[in-house]
Subunit: 162 residues, 2 copies
Amino acid sequence: MDQQQLFVKMAVDGWNQQIKFTNNTLDKISDEELLNEISPGKNRGIYLLGHLVAVHDQLLALLRFEDPSYPELRPVFIEAPDKAIADLPPVSQLRAQWHAVNNKFSAHIDSLQPADWFTRHASVSEEDFEKEPHRNRLNVLMSRTSHLANHRGQIVLLVPKG
Amino acid sequence: MDQQQLFVKMAVDGWNQQIKFTNNTLDKISDEELLNEISPGKNRGIYLLGHLVAVHDQLLALLRFEDPSYPELRPVFIEAPDKAIADLPPVSQLRAQWHAVNNKFSAHIDSLQPADWFTRHASVSEEDFEKEPHRNRLNVLMSRTSHLANHRGQIVLLVPKG
C-alpha cells in the first residue's frame, strides 16, 4: 500500500466509522422519539436527521460524484433552522433517504481511485486549487466526518435509557 | 509541498479547527453554566470539559509525545461516568488545564516531521504495525478530532441564547 492509498484508507475508515456509529444510534431511537428536542428549546432529532441527509446529499455534488437526489431538503434542513417550517417529511422517509444517500456514497468511494481524492472539490476553481492543493475532495470528506460526529453527539441524547 | 506534508496539513488543520471551535464555544459559557446538564439527566458541561482534558492529556502519551500531565483526571473523567464522583476539580482549573494540554499539543505538532506522523502510536506493537500501517499517529489524531467534534456538539447546548 503506497502513502496515498494509506491516507485515503485512514480518511475513508474515519467516515465509515462515523456513519456506522450514527446508524447504531438511530436504530435505538423510535420515530416518535426523534420528534423530541435533544435538549429543551434546541433542535429536534427529526431536524438533525434531515440536516444530515441534506448535507450528505449536497456533498455528492461538492465531491463531483453526482447531482443531489433530494434538492428539496436543502431549503428545509440547511437554509432554515428547526421549527421555521411546520411541515417536515415523515421520519420514515428521512430514514430511507439517509440510508440511500450513504449507499450512493459508498459506491462512489469504492470506485474512486486514490489519486482522484486529491483533485479539487466543486467549490474551488482550478486556478485557486493550484495554489491551495489541500482544498481537495478528501479534505471535504474529512471535514464532513467531523460535522457528522458533531451532530451524532447530539442525536445520541435521544436514546432512551436501557 | 509533497504528498506527505499535504496529508499532515489536512489532518492537523482539522484538529486545530475543532480546538478553535471548542474554545469559541467554551468562551460563551460561564463557569456556573458549565455545571448544568447538557440535557435533563445527561452529562454536565464540567464533566465533558474534564473528559476532553483527560483524553487529550492521555493522547500526549498515546502519540509518544510525553507523559500525561494530569493522570489524576483519568479515573474521574474517563473511567468514571458523570456524577459517580462527587468532588470534581473547579471549572477554572479545568479550563486552565484544557488550554495547557492543547498548547503542549501545538508545540509537539509544530516540531514533528511529516514522516514521523506515519510511525506507530504507543498502543500498537512494532510487529502489528508492520502489518497494519494505518495504525499510525496521524490516524489517532484524526479519530480524536471526531471525538472532540462529538463532544463539542454537546457542550454547545449550554451556550445561553444571545
